[in-house]
């Protein structure tokens, strides 16, 4: 995964705001990177640009050798489905589906048949400790359980890259710790994890940390 001189700016009330400013970066397979920085420093923008969700104003983004933004939106969606998993701070579970059905979504998008989807989704939920909550809707689960469902959903298609935006931001330290354990486990399996966080304890679990300030990657530490 590589960023080459990527800039992203927005117009906000007549002013141009630079969310990313000439950012270059390379993340090797199997890395676990924490991205830290103050609010508005461009952390989430970086994550969305990496995931093919937000087209940069300038520069190039490469994923597995593909120049991401030279692909069509549908091709990028397909690449996301195959290679990338997103974890959101607000979990973004589909409220009217059960835990099992939420985990089935990526499997349905990948074209798996119903029984295979159910089997795999149930296995993943067992793995995150929710084997007894398969038929619960998000509103019937605790915050920590919801994030674990979201992690099971991320793992469904076995993505090579996991992009997590403040995955522990809404969680108490203990539950947050469990989520970080799971992310570390996924990293140990060989997946690349890029995690945006405000939390120094979460950042400390990563192999290296990138610091963003005013859209610039100001420092990198191991």
């Amino acid at each position: 995964m590589r960023l080459e001189a990527v800039s992203k700016s927005y117009r906000h009330r007549g002013h141009t705001v630079a969310a990313l400013d000439n950012a270059s970066l390379e993340i090797v397979p199997g890395d676990f990177v924490a991205v830290v920085g103050p609010s508005g420093s461009g952390k989430s923008t970086l994550l969305l640009v990496l995931g093919g969700m937000l087209s940069p104003s300038a520069g190039k983004v490469f994923l597995n050798g593909h120049s991401l933004y030279e692909l069509s939106p549908n091709q990028r969606a397909e690449l996301r489905r195959q290679k990338v998993g997103f974890v959101f701070q607000t979990f973004n579970l589909v409220p009217y589906l059960t835990a099992l059905e939420n985990v089935q979504i990526p499997l349905f998008l990948a074209g798996l048949d119903g029984p295979a989807q159910k089997e795999r989704a149930a296995t993943l939920l067992e793995r995150v400790g929710l084997g007894d909550r398969l038929d619960h809707k998000p509103a019937e689960l605790s915050i920590g359980q919801q994030q674990r469902v979201a992690l099971a959903r991320v793992m469904a298609n076995e993505p090579e890259i996991i992009l997590a935006d403040e995955p522990t931001g809404n969680l108490d330290p203990e539950t947050g710790g469990q989520i970080l354990d799971l992310l570390e486990e996924m990293n140990r399996e060989g997946r690349t994890v890029v995690m945006v966080t405000h939390d120094p304890r979460a950042a400390a679990r990563a192999k290296r940390t990138l610091r963003l300030h005013d859209g610039r990657i100001s420092s990198a530490s191991n």
Partner: protein, 407 residues
């Protein structure tokens, strides 16, 4: 998990919002189905009533007026019987029950009657060419003839002549007599009757009609021609024409085909049916327009609100790898289900309304019309899909990043 399940679950999750759109399309379809259903049976009823009035197009010799025909029922002018064949073999649409007539005065027991020669239906059918022209098989939906309506009144065989000017079979030695003829002569069915030197058997005494027909003696056209010594001529052709075709210029077309005859139509009668039918179909169109507008606007409004409300969900699905086609399908499938449900329920409700209210509003029995279910579903689905297309396209084109609102 599949798309249908995803859509289905979402619909039930937000069923209160969906209910308004569903009700709009349901009521709209129900009203149009009810109007169409009642209209169909009302047109049939009007057609039956008009049919009872008899012929609505007359072909007469040039010199005869309609007044002459009705007041005297006899005129000296004639035209060749071959005109009937010309009409039968023509490709004119909307002709039903061609009834050629030759009337001659006769005196029986010092009283004057009219001997009218008619051509029985069997005569037409015997001539394959004529039958092939479709005179008796030509469909005449809602127009000028008695259609088979389940449960509706079917005329007695011998009344057919009075009502439709058509009799199935009549041999050279048989006559049918009007009610007055029977009373005055004291003749009953099966009696013998001497007319112009030939003895006929009375096969039926026709019911009282209160018209000149009551003093007629009906015999086979060719027998009357022979007895009158006039050769193959007739002095009128009564036609029950389809009103739609009459208003579309049938009279002019017959005139062109038979330039030496006079073609008249009882315009008042025809106009009545044309106006009634026209009003009903305009009413139907008006309601259709209203449901397209109200139902369509309601669905479009609901869909736009639904897309807006589900931005985050759409963004999440896109982040999970859903392409724009999946999102488009998701909303269009929802519209399809809404349209199907609206169409089927609208048909059921509309049919119940028509069957229950038809007899009260239009004074006619109304039966369910299964063919309307396809029509109702088609219209409902088309409206739902058309109204949802732009909201669905907007959903498919949403910026996945903006929808997550996490920038």
């Amino acid at each position: 998990m599949h798309l249908r399940k995803l859509v289905w679950r979402e619909m039930f999750e937000r069923k209160n919002q969906l209910a308004t759109s569903f009700l709009a399309i349901l009521l709209g379809i129900a009203v149009v189905v009810a109007v169409k259903n009642i209209t169909f049976y009302s047109e049939k009823a009007v057609a039956r009533q008009l049919d009872a009035l008899g012929a609505n197009v007359l072909v007469l010799p040039k010199s005869v007026s309609l007044q002459d025909y009705y007041s005297a029922d006899m005129q000296n002018d004639e035209f060749p019987e071959e005109y009937v064949q010309r009409l039968a073999l023509s490709d004119l649409q909307g002709l039903d029950n061609l009834s050629p007539k030759l009337s001659v005065p006769v005196r029986l027991k010092e009283r004057g009657f009219t001997l009218t020669g008619i051509l029985p239906k069997s005569e037409f059918q015997a001539k394959a060419m004529w039958a092939g022209a479709g005179i008796f098989s030509r469909p005449a939906e809602g127009c000028g003839t008695v259609a088979d309506v389940p449960g509706a009144f079917r005329p007695e065989a011998k009344e057919t002549l009075v009502r439709q000017r058509v009799i199935e079979d009549l041999s050279d030695t048989e006559v049918l007599i009007g009610a007055d003829v029977g009373t005055i002569l004291g003749t009953k069915e099966g009696d013998a009757l001497d007319v112009l030197g030939r003895t006929f058997t009375v096969t039926a005494v026709l019911p009282q009609t209160g018209t000149v027909d009551d003093s007629r003696i009906f015999a086979h056209l060719h027998a009357v021609q022979e007895l009158a010594g006039k050769g193959p001529v007739i002095n009128a052709i009564e036609i029950i024409g389809c009103c739609k075709e009459i208003s579309g210029g049938l009279v002019q077309k017959i005139n062109k085909l038979l330039p030496d005859a006079k073609v008249v139509t009882i315009t008042q009668v025809v106009d009545t049916q044309v106006k009634t039918n026209g009003m009903m179909s305009r009413l139907s169109l008006l309601f259709l327009g209203i449901i397209v507008l109200v139902g369509g606007a309601s669905i479009a409004n609901y869909m736009y609100a639904n897309v807006f409300e589900r931005r985050r969900e759409i963004g999440t699905l896109m982040a999970l790898g859903a392409g724009s086609v999946v999102i488009l399908k998701m909303f269009l499938l929802k519209a399809l289900l809404l349209g199907l449900a609206g169409g089927i329920c609208g048909y059921v409700l509309g049919t119940v309304l028509a069957v229950a209210l038809g007899p009260r509003l239009a004074g006619i029995p109304v039966l369910p019309m299964p063919a309307l279910v396809l029509w109702a579903i088609g219209i409902s689905v088309a409206i739902a899909l058309a109204a949802s297309y732009f909201p669905a396209r907007r959903a498919a084109r949403l910026d996945p990043c903006a929808t997550l609102q996490e920038v």
